[in-house]
C-alpha cells in the first residue's frame, strides 16, 4: 500500500493563495499526470507532499502517517525536482553512491546501465552536465531509487526527441517490472498522455479534475470532414478546438462521446475520432 491522502491543503505566499483547500487521494500503483498551467500550484503541491514546504492548513498522509518531518514516510517517496539540489562539485557516480545511503533499495547497477544507455558519463561532475543531461541524471536517480512513490517534476526538461522517447519507454518498463505510484508533472501533455492512467488537473490553486484519462477523453470527441458540413454538425454544440485546411475542417466537440450523433455524421459524411488530452486540458483551464 502507498496511498497518499491530501486533506484540505491550503498554501499561501503572502496574500497569494497558491493552493486552495485541495482534497485528493492518490491510489497506489498508478501513473498519474499532474497537469496545470504555469503558476497553477503543481510544484507547490509536490513540495508539500515531500516536506519541502509546509501548508497553512490541511494534512498530507502516506498510508495514514503524516509526511511532515516523518523520515519513515519520506523515505518511501523519491522526488525528482525540476531545480537542481545536488552538490555541483560531486560526480554523477558519487551522487548514486550517496543516494543509496538514503534509499537503501537504490539499484546502482540499474542506474549505471541506464546511464550508459542514455549516454550519461557517470564520471562527470553535476556542474558539467547540460540541461538535458541534468534531467536525465535526475530521472535515472529517480527510476533507480526503487521508492514506492516516484514523483517527476518536468522530467523531460531539455531532452531531445530521442531521449524523451527513451524516457517514456523506460518509465513503462520500470513500472511493468515493479508497479509503483508515479506522479508526472509536465507541460508536454500530448507526449505523456499515452503513459498516464489518471490525470489531476489544477487551475489557479484549485483541483478541477481527478479522473482516469479514459474517462476524461469520453467527455469530448473530434469530428472532421468538409468545413460547411462540420459547421452544420456542430451547430449548437460547444467546440473547444478547430483546425481548417482548405475545405477540410476538424473540430473538437465538448460533449459526452456517447451522445455523438452518428446518423447525422453519416448523412454529412463526417468522421469521428478521439479528442486529444491537450485540447481538453486547454479547454478546462482556459476560463
Amino acid at each position: 500500500m502507498s496511498k497518499i491522502e491530501i486533506k484540505g491543503i491550503t498554501k499561501e505566499y503572502g496574500t497569494t493563495k497558491a493552493l486552495d483547500n485541495i482534497n485528493l487521494t492518490i491510489e497506489p500503483n498508478k501513473i498519474y499526470g499532474l497537469l496545470g498551467r504555469n503558476g497553477a500550484g503543481k510544484t507547490t503541491l509536490l513540495n508539500l507532499m515531500t516536506n519541502k514546504l509546509f501548508p497553512n492548513s490541511g494534512e498530507i498522509t502516506l498510508d495514514g502517517q503524516t509526511v511532515f518531518e516523518n523520515d519513515k514516510a519520506l523515505g518511501r517517496i523519491f522526488y525528482m525536482m525540476e531545480k537542481n539540489l545536488y552538490p555541483l562539485g560531486l560526480k554523477v557516480k558519487e551522487i548514486f553512491q550517496w543516494t543509496k545511503e538514503y534509499y537503501p533499495s537504490f539499484d546502482t547497477k540499474y542506474a549505471n546501465e541506464l546511464s550508459a544507455r542514455f549516454g550519461l558519463d557517470v564520471n562527470k561532475k553535476i556542474k558539467a552536465l547540460s540541461t538535458g543531461y541534468s534531467s536525465i541524471f535526475k530521472a535515472i536517480a529517480a527510476l533507480a531509487s526503487n521508492a514506492d512513490i516516484i514523483i517527476f517534476d518536468e522530467p523531460i526538461l531539455g531532452l531531445d526527441a530521442n531521449h524523451r522517447d527513451m524516457f517514456y519507454k523506460e518509465l513503462i518498463a520500470n513500472y511493468s517490472e515493479k508497479p509503483k505510484t508515479m506522479i508526472i508533472s509536465t507541460h508536454l501533455i500530448e507526449e505523456v498522455a499515452e503513459v498516464l492512467e489518471e490525470v489531476i488537473i489544477i487551475d489557479k490553486g484549485k483541483l478541477i479534475r481527478k479522473e482516469s484519462v479514459e474517462q476524461l477523453l469520453t467527455t469530448a470527441y473530434a469530428v472532421s470532414g468538409e468545413a460547411s458540413k462540420v459547421d452544420e454538425y456542430i451547430n449548437g454544440k460547444k467546440v473547444i478546438g478547430a483546425e481548417t485546411m482548405g475545405k477540410f475542417k476538424s473540430v473538437v466537440v465538448l460533449e459526452d462521446i456517447h451522445k455523438k450523433n452518428d446518423m447525422l455524421a453519416k448523412e454529412l459524411n463526417l468522421e469521428f475520432a478521439k479528442a486529444e488530452l491537450q485540447k481538453l486540458f486547454i479547454s478546462l483551464t482556459n476560463s
Partner: protein, 237 residues
C-alpha cells in the same frame, strides 16, 4: 541513530577535504617556523615565542560553520531527509569535528612547544599548561564557533534582501550603541562588558572550566536558535 549517522557521514566528508587542506598548510607553516627558528634565531633563550595556530583553528571552525549549511541542506532535501534528522546529524558532526580539531590542536601545540618556544592561546590567557583543560577549552570553543557560523549562515539563508542588509549592518549599530552608552554612562558600560567577559571566560579566578561552561552554553543557545530557523526552512535558489 543509524539514520542520523548516515547524514553525518556525508557532512563529515565535506569537512574532511577542508581539514586536509588546512592542516597541510599548518604543517607547512610549522616546518618553516622550525627551520627559520634554528637557522635565524641567534638567542634561543630569549623571551619571544611563537603562537597563533589555536586562533587560526578557531577562525577555520567558524568559517566551516558558515559553509556547512546551504549545500548540505539542499542535498538532504533532494534525498527527502527531514529537517529534524538533518539538524541532529549536524550537531553530531559539529561535535565530532570540534573534538578532532581540539585533539589535533593540542597535539600540535605540545609537539611544537617541545621544539621551539611555542605558546598557544590557552596558555597565553590562563598562564598554565594542563592538557585536559586545554583540550576541553578548545573543544567547547570550537563547538561554539561552528554553531555560531552555522546559525549566521542559516539566518542569511532565511532572510529576504532587506533583512540580510539589516543583519549585515547590525554589528555597526551594536558598536555605535556601545560607544554611545559608554559616553552617556561615563565608561560604565564598557566596564560592564569587560566584567562580563572576564567572569564568563573564568579570568577572575583563572579557571578555564568556567569558560568551557560558557562556550558550551553558547553552543546550546546557538543550536536552539538554529533549530527555530530550520524547522520550517523552505528550499531557496
Amino acid at each position: 541513530m543509524n539514520n542520523i549517522l548516515k547524514v553525518s557521514k556525508y557532512q563529515l566528508r565535506d569537512f574532511k577535504a577542508a581539514m586536509i587542506i588546512y592542516y597541510g598548510i599548518i604543517l607547512a607553516i610549522s616546518a618553516i617556523i622550525i627551520i627559520s627558528y634554528f637557522t635565524f634565531v641567534s638567542n634561543p633563550d630569549g623571551n619571544g615565542h611563537f603562537s597563533g595556530f589555536g586562533s587560526s583553528a578557531l577562525i577555520f571552525m567558524f568559517i566551516s560553520g558558515l559553509n556547512c549549511f546551504k549545500s548540505n541542506f539542499k542535498f538532504m532535501q533532494a534525498n527527502n531527509v527531514s529537517r529534524k534528522r538533518f539538524f541532529l546529524a549536524n550537531i553530531v558532526t559539529l561535535i565530532l569535528v570540534s573534538a578532532f580539531m581540539a585533539l589535533l590542536n593540542s597535539v600540535l601545540s605540545n609537539v611544537l612547544s617541545r621544539i621551539i618556544p611555542y605558546r598557544d592561546i590557552f596558555e597565553q590567557i590562563y598562564q598554565k599548561h594542563f592538557i585536559l583543560a586545554d583540550l576541553t577549552w578548545f573543544f567547547s570553543l570550537f563547538t561554539f564557533a561552528t554553531s555560531l557560523g552555522w546559525f549566521i549562515t542559516m539566518l542569511y539563508y532565511k532572510c529576504n534582501s532587506l533583512m540580510k542588509t539589516i543583519v549585515s549592518l547590525s554589528p555597526i549599530f551594536v558598536i555605535a550603541l556601545i560607544i554611545t552608552l559608554n559616553y552617556i554612562t561615563d565608561g560604565a558600560s564598557t566596564r560592564g562588558i569587560s566584567r562580563f567577559f572576564t567572569s564568563t571566560l573564568g579570568l577572575t579566578n583563572n579557571n578555564p572550566y568556567i569558560a568551557v561552561l560558557s562556550f558550551l552554553t553558547g553552543f546550546v543557545v546557538m543550536t536552539a536558535l538554529s533549530w527555530l530557523l530550520l524547522r520550517r526552512m523552505p528550499i531557496k535558489e
